[in-house]
Structure formats: structure tokens, C-alpha cells
């Protein structure tokens, strides 16, 4: 799990382990941090929007070195847009994940809650879903299928 300087901690990782929100929050909390916004995605066992269906589990895979490079890039984009963000954690869990399991975490800390932490975390998950090379196959009662992404990054993005 690469971690940058203690000044402005950035944690980014692809992991097969359970996401530990407590530990990740501690890693990105500075003595001057007073607020954190965290986003987590969980495996839905039941989906109602769009094509309603059930899910037995999701099977995640990543192009690991590129995924970590792109997570680092997402963190840099966050810092450019919200300079008051102090710590950033971006972690994607891979492997076979069952309903209710957290699959991804984006967390940002700052001195105060009104300086963009919520927006930064939202941006982080939106960008992760655009440019971080991770894919999931959905396994349901009627078979399995890869989930299709729809974003085409520009060269160099």
C-alpha cells in the first residue's frame, strides 16, 4: 500500500483483504484534520433500478500496476481541485465479493467539513469508475456476465 509523505498522506491500493475503514481513516488523519468524508461501494444482492435482478456475488479483477497508477492520478486530480484536502485514501478490493461487502473506499480528510471533502470524495469515486482499470463479473441465479463500463478515456487521461 503505497503511502506518500506524512505531510499529505495518500493511500492507494488494490487489495484482496477486507476494507478496514477505521485503519484507513487513521492513516489519512493529520493532527490538523477535523473532518473526513468517506465513500464506500457495496455489492448489491438485489438491484431494482434498470434491469432488476439478483446477484450471488461479484468477481473483481484489476490490471494492478496501471490501477494503482491511475488511483495516484485520481488523488492528484483531487488535490488540484480541492487544495484544502489533506489525506486521501483510494482502495479497491478485488476477488470474489458477496452482497453487503464493501468493495471500494474513497476517503478525504481536511481541517473543516466546508472545504470540499464531500465533493472530493464524490469526485474520487466518479473518476475511479472512469479511469481505474478494474472490472467485475456479476454472477447471478441465471448465469454470469461482465459488467460493462461506458467511459472512454482520452489518450493520456
Amino acid at each position: 500500500m503505497p503511502v506518500s509523505t506524512a505531510e499529505q498522506p495518500t493511500v492507494f491500493a488494490i487489495t484482496e483483504s477486507e476494507l478496514d475503514l477505521n485503519a484507513l481513516l487513521a492513516e489519512i488523519t493529520l493532527p490538523s484534520s477535523g473532518a473526513a468524508a468517506l465513500f464506500t461501494g457495496m455489492v448489491r444482492g438485489v438491484t431494482e433500478r434498470g434491469d432488476a435482478h439478483q446477484t450471488l456475488y461479484l468477481e473483481y479483477e484489476a490490471y494492478r500496476p496501471m490501477a494503482e497508477a491511475k488511483m495516484k492520478q485520481v488523488a492528484e486530480e483531487i488535490r488540484q481541485r480541492w487544495p484544502s484536502v489533506q489525506g486521501i485514501a483510494i482502495v479497491q478490493r478485488v476477488g470474489r465479493l458477496y452482497p453487503c461487502t464493501p468493495t471500494v473506499l474513497i476517503a478525504c480528510t481536511a481541517a473543516h467539513r466546508d472545504t470540499g471533502v464531500f465533493e472530493a470524495a464524490r469526485y474520487g469515486i466518479d473518476r475511479l469508475k472512469e479511469i481505474v482499470p478494474v472490472w467485475k463479473k456479476e454472477v447471478g441465479p441465471d448465469g454470469e456476465a461482465w459488467v460493462e463500463g461506458d467511459y472512454i478515456p482520452r489518450p493520456g487521461e
Binding site: 490490471y63 472512469e130 472490472w135
Partner: protein, 82 residues
């Protein structure tokens, strides 16, 4: 000709039946050339021709990009993580 190792992910890996393949390409071959070569060799890839994405050394690249020597090349569908 030069040898390049191509990493494949998700649907593309399923269609090729391997997580990576080694191919011989001309020295000035572009990503598009490599893609056409792969589709010719593994016709099922034609299904996803319009959504195949390419990365060279962990960066998204254009189809016109010439493949550098010793590059890590990967093809994959649009990402669906989170």
C-alpha cells in the same frame, strides 16, 4: 519484426482464452495494427472491436500510437470497478 507481450483483461481475456499473448509485429506497428492482428488471430475479439481500449506502460493511448520497444501493452474493455 519485434516481439511484444500483450496483457488481456475481462471479456477480452475470455475471448482470447489467455491472460497474455506474445505477438510479432513490424517495428513501426501502431496500436491499431496490433489490434487488427489480434482480431485476425482471435476472431471473437471482433465482437468488442468498438470498445477495445489500449494502454501502453499504464497510460491510455490513441490507436495511432506506435508501440515502443519493450513496452507493456494491455487491451481491455471500458472499466467497471467501484
Amino acid at each position: 519484426m519485434k516481439r511484444v507481450k500483450v496483457l488481456l483483461f475481462a471479456t477480452l481475456r475470455d475471448y482470447v482464452g489467455a491472460a497474455s499473448v506474445e505477438v510479432e509485429i513490424p517495428p513501426q506497428a501502431t496500436i491499431r495494427d496490433l489490434e487488427e492482428h489480434l482480431i485476425a488471430t482471435y476472431p471473437r475479439l471482433g465482437i468488442v472491436r468498438n470498445s477495445m481500449m489500449a494502454a501502453v506502460n499504464h497510460e491510455f493511448v490513441a490507436d495511432e500510437q506506435i508501440i515502443p520497444d519493450g513496452a507493456e501493452v494491455a487491451f481491455f474493455p471500458p472499466v467497471s470497478g467501484g
